[in-house]
């Protein structure tokens, strides 16, 4: 194709891949690969049945193209229903579940492949889908909303990597979801994900807080989406905010200790927090905290916390108490283990201190 005369067309772009594929492979390489092959064959067959075209497979992912968004979404729904039926008898930790993203976009066609932002957006929508779920963009939604008897849930404007404009995303509600929730339009928090006020009222560290207190806190906290791999806190560097996870997982890790062979490696999820000590001072953090997959989290900057404190807001006092209590608990836990070591003479227990240590 010569420069200035690229072949373009409007396509419904379908992108699917397996949720947690690396974990599944690590646990059972051959079995996972066999099941992946069977699923990819079934997906390819469904795409063909719905007049779509598989452009390529990349590991556990499939990129396909349809002339019709209705066909693309019907195909995706059929695939998810079939895979769900297959997965029903499989234990949760061994389920092979696909996430599917669908976008409608103007793409460049070259060497039997498609290129461009339209494709990137489809892969990002796939990231936003839940395992076993489907996520579509606004242009797809506009085409299918009156055509297909499905429920749709607006997820809001989502910033996606390498795409300038935020993408308006919709989650497709399948069977049980659709029965539980009527068709919804307009902004609404994603189901299964607590809003910040809900989180502030139910997360363990905020239990006992009153409504005005959580309201004040909500005003100074900021909710943001973070991409896979985002480094919230870096070991050895000063932290400046407390984070409360709303959605997704964060990996807490520490450098491997010489001679011990032990590495702290712990995942935390919704409702849990990290960076507490950062609210008290700016000394070096003792662990790194990194997003595993996309993460939504509320953050409270030390400066905002100090501001709350100085304007005499009672929530700041409540918070200060929670911080003191957590620190007291950590010191108590260290002391208790030292006491056990004194009692047993077993010094290897020192390393238990690392294992059970909460990361401030």
């Amino acid at each position: 194709m010569s420069v200035g005369h690229l072949h373009r067309r409007l396509s419904a772009i379908f992108y699917a891949d397996v949720a947690g594929y690396s974990r599944l492979t690590a646990e059972d390489e051959e079995g996972t690969h066999r099941r992946l092959n069977a699923s990819l064959d079934a997906i390819a067959a469904a795409i063909e049945t719905h007049s779509g075209k598989v452009l390529h497979f990349a590991g556990d992912a499939v990129l396909a193209e349809f002339d019709s968004v209705v066909n693309a979404l019907t195909c995706a729904v059929d695939i998810q229903r079939a895979l769900k039926a297959q997965n029903d008898s499989v234990p949760d930790d061994r389920k092979l579940q696909f996430r599917i993203g669908i976008n409608l976009g103007d793409v460049i066609v070259d060497r039997k492949e498609i290129y461009g932002d339209g494709v990137n957006v489809a892969t990002r929508l796939e990231d936003l889908a839940e395992p076993g779920g489907i996520c579509i963009s606004r242009p797809v939604y506009d085409q299918v909303k009156h055509q297909l008897e499905l429920g749709y849930e607006y997820l809001g404007e989502r910033k996606v990597k390498n795409i300038a404009e935020p993408v308006r995303a919709y989650r497709v509600l399948l069977e049980s979801d659709a029965a539980a929730a009527p068709k919804i339009e307009g902004p609404r928090p994603r189901r299964g994900v607590a809003t910040l006020p809900q989180l502030l009222q139910t997360a363990p560290m905020f239990v006992g807080s009153t409504q005005p207190e959580t309201d004040a806190l909500e005003k100074v906290m900021s909710v943001d989406d973070y991409a896979d791999g985002h480094l919230f806190i870096s070991e050895g560097e000063g932290g400046d905010a407390l984070y409360v996870i709303m959605e997704g997982e964060v990996l807490i890790s520490r450098k491997k200790l010489a001679g011990v062979g032990f590495e702290l490696h712990k995942k935390i999820g919704p409702g849990e927090m990290f960076g507490l000590i950062s609210l008290v001072d700016s000394g070096p953090c003792t662990a790194s905290c990194r997003a595993v997959g996309s993460v939504k989290a509320a953050s409270l900057q030390r400066s905002a916390f100090n501001l709350l404190f100085n304007i005499d807001a009672s929530i700041a006092y409540q918070f200060q108490y929670l911080i003191a209590r957590q620190l007291a608990h950590d010191v108590q836990m260290f002391n208790q283990l030292l006491r056990e070591i004194v009692l047993s003479g077993d010094e290897t227990k020192i390393y238990e201190l690392f294992r059970s240590d909460s990361v401030g």
Binding site: Q320, F334, R339
Partner: protein, 182 residues
């Protein structure tokens, strides 16, 4: 025994800095003057404890005890404090504190603290802020020491790598003794 503001500031500068002049006034009123004779046990490892003791004068010895085994951590004197952990969160004490000399203390029990929280929330919070800063530093130093111990460099060089020394160093760091002892 009355306790004036400038004396408090002089003895406990890190707490005073957070309380401010009015806060010091309120806080010192909430403290209960207490005397301990040499040998008195103020806090006993394993027993329930809920009181913070600020040391105005004297000397207290801190140790970790378990079934007759004892690990001495060190001594603290005027300007230091003990018992803040269980004042914040009452429960079993994990260290033993014994008066080594006749001592003059200022006590604040958890009940006293709760009253302070209710009547003067900002003063109570400022106290917690000062105590938290100290706790955070102690925890951080303890974690750093654990890393040093695990790398097995520190003790080979400095103490010949004896187990008791390692444990005592951890306990001292945890209690903040490396900075606050006499």
């Amino acid at each position: 025994m009355s306790y004036n503001r400038s004396e408090f500031k002089q003895h406990f500068p890190s707490i005073a800095a957070h309380l401010g002049p009015t806060g010091i006034e309120i806080f010192t009123h909430a403290l209960v003057p207490t005397e301990a004779a040499a040998g008195d046990v103020l806090i006993s490892c394993g027993a329930r404890s809920d009181t913070l003791y600020l040391i105005r004068q004297g000397l207290l010895a801190i140790s970790i005890e378990a079934d007759g085994n004892k690990l001495s951590l060190g001594e603290v004197g005027g300007g230091s404090w003990v018992g803040e952990i269980t004042m914040i969160e009452p429960g079993s004490a994990t260290t033993t504190v014994i008066a080594k000399q006749d001592s003059v203390l200022l006590a604040l029990s958890n009940d006293g603290f709760e009253t302070l929280r209710k009547d003067h929330p900002k003063v109570a919070s400022s106290l917690l802020k000062a105590l938290s800063l100290d706790l955070a530093n102690r925890l951080r130093s303890t974690r750093q020491l654990l890393i040093k111990i695990s790398e097995d460099q520190y003790f080979v060089e400095s103490t010949g790598n004896k187990k008791e020394d390692r444990l005592a160093a951890l306990g001292r760091t945890l209690m903040g003794l490396s900075r606050r002892e006499l």
